[in-house]
């Protein structure tokens, strides 16, 4: 293993390595070039690759994504930054009506290898327009892959996999994890899209965590261990397409399932996983499938209200305890 690398530099290194490997890869977005990104994720890429491959644009989110689709259809591999995930509402047209459909709709005449980066910023008091987790919307779009890294290692591996994928991939990165550090495997590696990771094996309950909720889940697992509870912790990593087989196998072992995600509970990923598990693994369940997720309201800037809104380790522990009776 190499020296510890911060989450945000893991993303940076993944993009840089792919740009060195493949001349069709370029980055595009607001502030990605000279400023190096609003939080520094693309720092240094302009200097190394020049303005042709590190493209600063006007504030035109829809056109950034739309032009990525047009460039990808013509053979390039764009990596776009949309900054805060709320701004991706301005690109739903281009992601849904255009990018996600073009390969199928045109009878496989074109491929759409493109990555769109968006950042969730829950927990920062960033307020209603900067803090949302909208992955559920995009997971309902056939033709679009959605990944949510949770550690520096899988942040790098998923970015490299996303850039090499021949489909549009939405890459959702958590601002609150940017400073996490981890030792990075040496050499070239990817984290495969469409595969969960079993972070910790256990026998009493399956916890499926999405994105930055891994950090909360790890804390919860430690607390539960003190009470002798052994949860199996699965990091979803890819929100679409879902790796349900890993989840079914785990549920058949533990007989209980709880899903934790930062997005709202209503119409969320947890709802989809719960529905699939009750369809395919109902006979193995000893308790109703549960969710720990945000309530059906707006996220507040006000710290006390935001804290109440956010799922966390304490809420997960409480939920698990009620499920184990």
């Amino acid at each position: 293993m190499g020296k510890p690398v911060m989450f945000q530099w893991a993303i940076n290194h993944a993009i840089a390595e792919e740009m060195r490997r493949d001349p069709t890869v370029f980055i595009i977005g607001e502030d990605v070039g000279k400023p190096g990104g609003p939080f520094g994720v693309t720092r240094g890429l302009l200097d190394e690759f020049g303005p042709e491959r590190a493209v600063d644009t006007p504030i035109s989110e829809g056109t950034i994504v739309g032009m990525c689709a047009g460039a990808a259809a013509a053979g390039l591999r764009p990596v776009a930054e949309i900054m805060f995930m709320n701004f991706i509402t301005l690109c739903v047209e281009e992601l849904y009506n255009q990018a996600s459909k073009m390969h199928w709709m045109f009878g496989a005449q074109v491929k759409l290898p493109m990555v769109v980066r968006a950042m969730t910023a829950g927990g920062y008091g960033a307020g209603p327009h900067h803090s949302s987790s909208l992955e559920g919307w995009f997971a309902s779009m056939p033709g679009l892959k959605v990944v949510m890294p949770s550690t520096p290692v899988n942040a790098k591996g998923l970015m490299k996999a996303a850039i090499r994928d021949d489909n549009p991939v939405l890459y959702i990165e958590p601002l609150s994890s940017y400073k996490l550090k981890a030792e990075m495997p040496e050499g070239d590696f990817i984290t495969p899209i469409g595969k969960c990771e079993i972070v910790k094996e256990g026998s009493d309950i399956t916890i499926v965590t999405v994105g930055r909720m891994l950090q909360e889940s790890l804390k919860a697992v430690d607390q539960l261990a003190k009470d002798g509870v052994k949860p199996e912790l699965i990091d979803l990593l890819t929100v679409s397409p879902l790796d349900m087989d890993t989840i079914y196998t785990s549920v058949k072992k533990t007989h209980r399932l709880v899903i934790i995600h930062e997005a709202k509970e209503t119409m969320g990923i947890g709802a989809e996983i719960a529905a699939l598990v009750q369809e395919k693994a109902f006979d193995w369940l000893d308790a109703p499938v549960a969710r720990v997720a945000a309530p059906f309201t707006h996220i507040a800037f006000q710290p006390k209200l935001e804290q109440h809104y956010m799922p966390d380790a304490g809420k997960l522990v409480a939920k698990v305890k009620t499920m184990l009776g």
Partner: protein, 320 residues
């Protein structure tokens, strides 16, 4: 600019091919049995498609609209898979999945029609970006109507293309109606070309029913774009003979308007001009029409013989 006899015949042939395809498509659609979905026809705007595409090479790209058959035919797509696509058959250029409003023929540079008004512009900017990135010297033309000029896509795309100096020709066909709403209701200026100045790009307005004028003006735009000078707006004043969709009763049109514009039908005008100039004689004109009719008839026959897609087609190609 002196237009050669060969180019004149080419312009006429492209227009007749477009018109014949559109007229026959209309008949088949109206018969109500073979062609599913919605249909938007472009008769009247034929000169914009032909005059623009005659300037383009096969590796140049176009994006067009929900009313895009004419552009795609003029760019050079094979009529057989096109017609099969409109019939929803497996031998369609998009395997019968896309239909009239959404189809593409990538090998001839037809990168897509679009069911969402204005959205082709954003995609066109991206393809032009790839052309510049790969130093191909190719250009991308994107067709739209004045209705699409009200979208955010128009502003963002033009500004993006101008800022990044991308080879995009914005081809605006003013057909007087945004769906069913007259231009005077939703645009505060007379000429769309004025807007180009706001992006630091050239813009020009002309008679979109005179195919030679369209050809000459777009030639300047193509030259500008190939020279790496950024985008260019061309605006042709034309008219949509049919309604927004086939079946539209057109009750929003003032009496006599269609009749006035039919006197300026670009195909009829150009036929008269070529006869008068002696570029073609009556027999030559008929030969062009017969050849186009033969191609369209063959395309219809091809479409009719092609099977419908199997249900499994719904589930393949979701991911590449």
């Amino acid at each position: 600019m002196k237009i050669s006899k060969d180019i004149k015949i080419d312009l006429f042939t492209r227009m007749v091919k477009v018109r014949t395809f559109e007229d026959d498509t209309n008949k088949i659609f109206m018969a109500g049995k073979e062609m599913p979905g919605f249909l938007h026809l472009s008769q009247g705007e034929d000169a914009m498609a032909a005059g623009t595409c005659a300037n383009l090479e096969i590796n140049d790209a176009i994006y067009t609209t929900h009313r895009g058959h004419g552009c795609i035919i003029a760019k050079g797509a094979d009529l057989k898979p096109m017609m099969a696509e409109l019939f929803g058959r497996i031998d369609g250029c998009c395997k019968g999945r896309a239909g009239s409003m959404h189809f593409a023929d990538v090998k001839t540079g037809c990168m897509g029609s679009n069911g969402v008004v204005g959205e082709g512009m954003r995609l066109a900017v991206g393809t032009a970006f790839a052309q510049k990135y790969n130093k191909t010297n190719n250009v991308t033309a994107v067709f739209f109507g004045e209705g699409a000029s009200g979208t955010g896509s128009f502003h963002e795309s033009f500004n993006m293309a101008a800022t990044l100096k991308l080879p995009v020709i914005f081809v605006c066909s003013i057909n007087l109606y945004a769906q069913m709403t007259h231009k005077s209701v939703h645009i505060a200026i007379e000429d769309m070309a004025e807007r180009a100045a706001g992006y630091g790009a050239p813009g020009v307005t002309f008679d979109g029913n005179d195919v030679e004028v369209v050809y000459e003006e777009v030639a300047k735009a193509v030259k500008h774009c190939r020279a790496g000078k950024g985008p260019y707006l061309v605006e042709g004043k034309t008219y949509r003979h049919y309604g927004h969709y086939i079946g539209d009763p057109c009750n929003y049109r003032p009496a006599g308007e269609l009749e006035e514009w039919m006197k300026k039908d670009p195909v009829v005008l150009y036929e008269k001009k070529l006869l008068k100039e002696g570029v073609l004689d009556a027999k030559g004109v008929q030969q062009v029409k017969d050849e186009c009719k033969r191609l369209v008839d063959e395309a219809v026959e091809y479409a009719r013989k092609s099977p419908q897609p199997d249900i499994e087609e719904l589930y393949v190609d979701i991911f590449a």
